[in-house]
């Protein structure tokens, strides 16, 4: 048995602790909220009787620790309960909103990697050159721009004025319901259903938000790529490789790049994780029925069932990606074997 297995076991344990803490934090934060979920169900003008009835139904009359206990028990059995502010099972809601976010996040991260890695490499190799400065500046710009603002401006320009891209939402009306949700990701479903129009429409709707989100992850990725690259390029073995008669780019690809790969993957995983959390504001601006908005409106409706389920998922994503990059590290770096 490889010697990292026990290490992994230890990690899993600590993961469990983290998740529990995450949930506890959320739960009690939620109970601090001066927001009464009951109102979402019975309406603002409802009678006392109605209120008391539903209040009891939701088990809100039980003491906190009992509620939390019950909640954890349900989580164990993957029973997320009902989302009060949508009236659906949380599980169903998530099955709807999460694919929307995954789709957006994936397209974004592809853009982010596609531009970020080359930018970072170039910047590092031509360090101090104009190229470096420009790349760096573009990166920082990406860091600094408020996505929701870019979104608004983008909508005005590319949708309202130029009509290049689709508007808010995932599809134009006439395409809604044309394809059966299989994965819940329209780009894929439409292809599965062999509906090119739907695909193009979905594409035209996702391009703008994805580019904007992609831009910020690009900024992050390129920056990290650059500094990883610089670190490697300073190493002796790079000189040795040059001495052997390899050209600059041969050295970069065959040696430097292979050496930053692990760190790079970790960074990308992280960027992806952040995208998967759902970009609340971007989703709001683009009326994107995604995870981030679901979580936010759940929170602002005081609907802890929904919020906790979401937080749990986020936690799992993070932990999962951590483990993943850990395994990758062990797989890709011979020194850890």
């Amino acid at each position: 048995m490889p010697r990292w297995v026990p290490a992994l076991g230890k990690q899993v344990a600590s993961v469990a602790v983290t998740l529990l803490g995450l949930l506890a934090l959320t739960f009690f934060m939620g109970r601090m909220l001066p927001i009464d979920p009951v109102i979402a169900i019975i309406g603002e003008q409802a009678e006392k009787e109605t209120y008391d009835m539903v209040y009891a139904q939701l088990g809100l009359d039980k003491p906190l620790y009992v509620q939390f206990g019950l909640f954890i028990r349900d989580m164990m059995t993957l029973e997320f309960g009902d989302a009060l502010f949508t009236g659906n099972k949380v599980a169903d809601d998530l099955a709807r909103v999460f694919p929307a976010t995954i789709e957006l996040a994936t397209v974004s991260i592809i853009i982010g990697i596609g531009l970020g890695v080359p930018f970072g490499m170039l910047a590092a190799v031509y360090r101090g050159s104009l190229l470096d400065h420009v790349a760096r500046f573009i990166g920082l710009l990406g860091y600094s721009s408020p996505n929701f603002w870019l979104g608004l401006m983008g909508l005005i320009l590319f949708y309202a004025t130029l009509g290049w891209v689709g508007g808010p939402g995932r599809l134009d009306v006439m395409f809604i319901d044309m394809v059966e949700p299989v994965t819940g990701m329209l780009l894929i479903d439409s292809l599965l259903a062999g509906e090119p129009e739907v695909f193009w429409d979905a594409f035209s709707h996702i391009v703008l938000p994805a580019s904007i989100l992609g831009y910020s992850s690009m900024a992050y990725i390129s920056r990290m790529t650059r500094s990883f690259m610089l670190e490697q390029l300073g190493q002796e073995y790079i000189v040795a490789a040059r001495v052997k008669g390899l050209s600059r780019w041969q050295v970069v690809w065959r040696h430097a790049f292979r050496n930053i790969l692990v760190q790079l993957i970790t960074v990308i995983a992280l960027a992806y994780a952040f995208l998967l959390e759902g970009a609340v504001l971007t989703e709001t601006v683009f009326a994107w029925p995604g995870f981030g908005r679901y979580l936010t409106s759940g929170l602002l409706a005081g609907d802890m069932n929904a919020v906790l389920a979401c937080v749990l998922i986020i936690g799992i994503i993070f932990v999962g990606l951590n483990l993943l990059s850990d395994l990758l590290y062990r797989a890709l770096d011979p020194r850890t074997r």
Partner: protein, 540 residues
């Protein structure tokens, strides 16, 4: 370098180009046989007519589950037959007998009878959601409803009243309410869930697709995305003109405007003043405004020593530039009105008398001085973070500052605001209220009447209670007015109450809400009233 950047740009353009081909079909208008409406569906959580507690759901459900009787589309104070083709009242006024039409059918084609109706009304009372108030406030009760509402045969519904309420009041307040829709009893009972001895009367089953007598039926509902209605071809009237009604969740005014201008939608229902003004200028679009029976108002917590003073509250009424707001921020959104009974409702004061206030800082100062606060005071002011609420709030805040009242604004999510309101947890509160029916009673019975002002009474459904304000005389006046069977006399009593409330009430009503709906010209005969938006007549 340049190469890289150019590459990047090229790539983006390429995507955009790909997209262009993509959207080009979207430039074409919406489907001929469908009405496409953009709205904010955030609050929508059920289609069970017994549970629906928010505006949008109510708007939709009235096209899916029509009430027994309905408001006249031209004058809501008149009631027209609907499923009930006729009704009669016993001389003692304690029994109402309704005759239902013979041609009522569910979308399935199955006949709908008085027994379905009976079951449907019973369940509203039994389920006890907010809508049960439509019945309970008229003395109907869980334990007795089986006796109180009875189907004597396929076409006859008999209602036994506890008191001889004026029938006009009952018709508009109860029989025309959205919760008198006729659901399919058989299906409902078959799919009823009973957990720990509590019957849900098919609440879960009807939540997404109520099986009901109406022009349309709900065929799809993706939360916060879309609601799709299909025409009911077995409708007893001539079937709706358009086959489908598609309601898209678009929470942004700007986005809705763009969609409407591009013809991606036919109707936009969440628009702010400035987008509306722009759309109004657009020849392809016309903006339909309806004065609603609802208000935006300031509520004061009368428990507060300062705000408990009527003079202080009156002073606030002089801190709003009604005219200025009306012409600017409130254009398409509200009509200034200070009386608690909405214009257009039975027993309402006329426009002039209903809005005697104007921005008058000196008067406000004077009143404050009389009240003993010549140099003002500081209060917290909570308000919704949505739409124009914060704008209005800042307007009030600015004027208040001029007379020495320092208002500390706190905007919050609606759910948060409602919670604070319902738990008396505020000093000054800006919020809205919608009247359930076009009769003075609707507002007065909630905003003026307060049966029990004790905190533990928790009568949060009474804004008067929320403001911890009670006036026993008003309670009595309201009760007698409610029972008065001579319309002329009733009106007089209501006028008195309104005048009194305008001076002493715990609220400062700022404006009566207006519902703007922007519709593309292609759409014809889209009938809109304060209580009904009728999809069925709309055509293209």
């Amino acid at each position: 370098m340049s190469t890289t950047v150019r590459a990047a740009i090229a790539a983006t353009l390429l995507m955009a180009a790909g997209a262009t081909q993509a959207v080009s079909p979207a430039q074409a208008a919406t489907p001929r046989d469908a009405l496409v409406m953009a709205w904010n569906l955030d609050a929508l959580i059920t289609f069970d007519p017994a549970q629906i507690a928010e505006v949008n759901g109510n708007d939709i459900i009235r096209n899916v589950c029509e009430p027994l009787v309905n408001y006249d589309l031209t004058d809501v104070s008149k009631i027209l037959p609907n499923h009930a083709e006729s009704w009669s009242v016993s001389d003692d006024g304690l029994t109402i007998t309704m005759k239902l039409r013979d041609d009522l059918k569910f979308p399935s084609g199955k006949k709908a009878t008085a027994y379905d109706a009976e079951w449907s009304l019973h369940r509203v009372v039994h389920l006890g959601f907010g809508n049960s108030a439509n019945f309970t406030q008229w003395g109907f009760h869980k334990d007795k409803v089986a006796e109180q509402i009875k189907a004597t045969d396929e076409h006859t519904l008999v209602f036994k009243l506890s008191k001889p309420y004026p029938v006009g009041l009952l018709l508009s307040a109860m029989f025309a309410s959205g919760s008198t829709g006729i659901l399919d009893k058989e299906l409902g009972e078959k799919n009823a869930r009973v957990n720990d001895g509590k019957n849900d009367y098919g609440n879960a089953f009807f939540k997404t697709a109520p099986v009901c007598v109406g022009a349309y039926r709900v065929t799809r509902w993706n939360t916060n995305e879309v609601v799709i209605l299909e025409r009911n071809d077995n409708y007893w009237r001539e079937p709706a003109k358009l086959k489908r009604v598609i309601i898209r969740h678009v929470p942004e005014s700007g986005a809705q405007r763009l969609l409407l201008e591009k013809g991606d939608i036919d109707v936009a229902r969440l628009l702010n003043t400035d987008d509306l003004r722009a759309l109004d200028r657009n020849p392809a679009i016309h903006v339909e405004t309806t004065v609603m029976h609802g208000f935006a108002y300031l509520a004061f917590n009368a428990e507060d020593p300062i705000l408990g003073n009527p003079k202080v509250r009156e002073a606030f009424r002089y801190l709003v530039d009604y005219q200025g707001l009306g012409k600017t921020v409130l254009e398409y959104q509200g009509n200034p009105r200070a009386s608690l009974v909405p214009e257009g409702a039975f027993g309402a004061l006329n426009a002039e008398e209903g809005q005697p206030f104007k921005l008058d800082l000196d008067k406000a100062k004077a009143l404050l001085a009389e009240a003993g606060y010549p140099d003002g005071f500081t209060k917290k002011y909570i308000v919704s973070a949505n739409n124009i609420a914060p704008v209005v709030a800042q307007h009030v805040q600015a004027n208040a500052a001029k007379v020495g009242i320092k208002l500390e604004l706190e905007q919050m999510a609606d759910a948060n605001l409602f919670t604070r309101a319902r738990s008396r947890d505020f000093e000054v509160l800006q919020i809205g209220w919608g009247a359930g029916y076009p009769d003075a009673d609707s507002m007065i019975s909630r905003h003026a009447v307060n049966p029990d002002n004790r905190l533990e009474a928790k009568l949060a459904q009474y804004p008067s209670w929320r403001s911890s304000w009670q006036d026993v005389k008003i309670n009595e006046k309201a009760e007698t007015a409610r029972m008065e069977r001579d319309p002329a006399k009733r009106i007089e009593m209501y006028h008195d109450i309104q005048r009194y409330m305008m001076k002493n009430g715990p609220m400062a009503y700022m404006y009566q809400t207006v519902r703007p709906i922007a519709v593309r010209k292609e759409v014809k005969d889209f009938a809109i009233t304060p209580f009904n938006v009728v999809y069925r007549t709309a055509g293209k």
